[in-house]
Symmetry: C2
Subunit: 247 residues, 2 copies
């Protein structure tokens, strides 16, 4: 089986994702927030591209579902929305049983951009082991980094590297798993920084920005590994992200 | 000063290269071949995008200069060309004093794509120290990986990481040099694989391909570090790459 890593959604066109499992990583913060929200019992999450779309979707669903709007622009909660994009906001009290319509700058865009894949899963450090177990059925896997406004993100690549190492083991690769150059770069980046993952989140461009606007605690939350067995699954037919507990 | 790393020429549009120094890395093999050719006394190298352009340029120049055609498609010498893209072919006997018109799949395209920069230098492991010394005048530097047909290349990113480490030193970065996420990923990738650079070249996608078609020796050649003090400089006004010996 092959494990490939695409560093930015804009590079998807260059690679065949059709028919593959695609795991979308937006460590800071959409992926981690989605895992947290589903862990804490929200019904489903509907990713949308723009705040206007989010409002429209809310009007459409409000008769039948209990809806919350969540998302950010430039890291901050969108005006008029119920929640921002900090995992810590998505407590059981606030979100249990609710439908969350979510709009973030990079993460939801990456998820929507991956729709050509056979299966779109959401990956973060929080649910890394669970996603790895789900992927280990032997099919080719594509790891997709959300990045940050068209630039690559250190923390997404390092998280993909953690995924790759969990797949191939800690040796130098007689695992029978074929890595593309992106997956190899991610693996090396993870190996060089594995002892200080929160440091990775702090030194990347987006982590520094989040700290500067008061979201430093989110970095610690998003650096925690294997705190959930939830594997969020994006169903293109319903347009929503739901729970898939790892087998 | 800032050091940034762009993993593919197609990502240049997302970043401002205007007014910056840009170092183009195509370790396998165009950058290494260009350094070797200039080290061995060729007059200048004119990068062109297509074999047809190369032939046209040759006709234009043949009255006044002694011209050789060099380049590859799918790694092999282009039919009717004098030289392929193996550094070992560019011996002093063959190329001293000659003008080389060069057409390679990724490297020459990356060089031509970087023309918006104030200064375009050619970087490889062969001349890494010399390029670092040239860059250390304090200006912002952009490292551009040529990649391979739209996909990223492990060896280019690792070579950029070697550049970054030479700039910032071996510590964790109180050097006053600001790295973007790409430069940080490159640095980590280099640090994890520094003890086996030829192994890096052998395991990447393009290295494996070159070995499979009989160019395994080129990998050893291209893995050699600091064997030249030549800093090739692309002059957009003349359209040619010439020698700039590191001060």
């Amino acid at each position: 089986m092959k494990v490939s890593c695409i560093f930015l959604p804009t590079l998807i066109a260059d690679r065949a994702i059709a028919g593959r499992i695609c795991v979308v990583f937006d460590v800071l913060r959409a992926s981690t927030t989605i895992v947290t929200a589903l862990e804490n019992g929200c019904q489903r999450i509907i990713p949308v591209a723009t705040p206007a779309e989010a409002q429209k979707m809310k009007e459409k669903l409000s008769g039948s579902e209990s809806v919350l709007l969540a998302g950010e622009r430039e890291g901050r909660r969108i005006a008029g929305f119920d929640l921002g994009n900090s995992p810590g906001e998505f407590t059981a009290e606030r979100i249990r049983g609710r439908t969350i319509i979510m709009c973030t700058t990079n993460g939801t865009a990456a998820i929507l951009g991956a729709q050509g894949a056979r299966s779109v899963l959401i990956g973060s450090l929080a649910n890394l082991g669970a996603v790895v177990r789900r992927a280990r059925v032997g099919e080719d896997v594509i790891l997709l980094c959300a990045g940050k406004e068209g630039g690559i993100s250190l923390e997404d690549i390092v998280a993909c590297g953690a995924f790759v190492e969990a797949m191939v083991g800690e040796g130098s690769g007689s695992s029978g798993i074929e890595l593309d150059d992106g997956a190899m770069v991610a693996l090396e980046a993870f190996r060089a920084s594995r002892d200080d993952i929160v440091g990775v989140l702090r030194k990347g461009n987006h982590g520094r920005y989040l700290e500067s606007i008061g979201f430093g605690r989110d970095l610690e939350t998003c650096a925690q590994r294997d705190v959930s067995d939830i594997v969020p699954y994006f169903d293109a037919a319903t347009g929503s992200i739901e729970v898939r507990v790892a087998e």
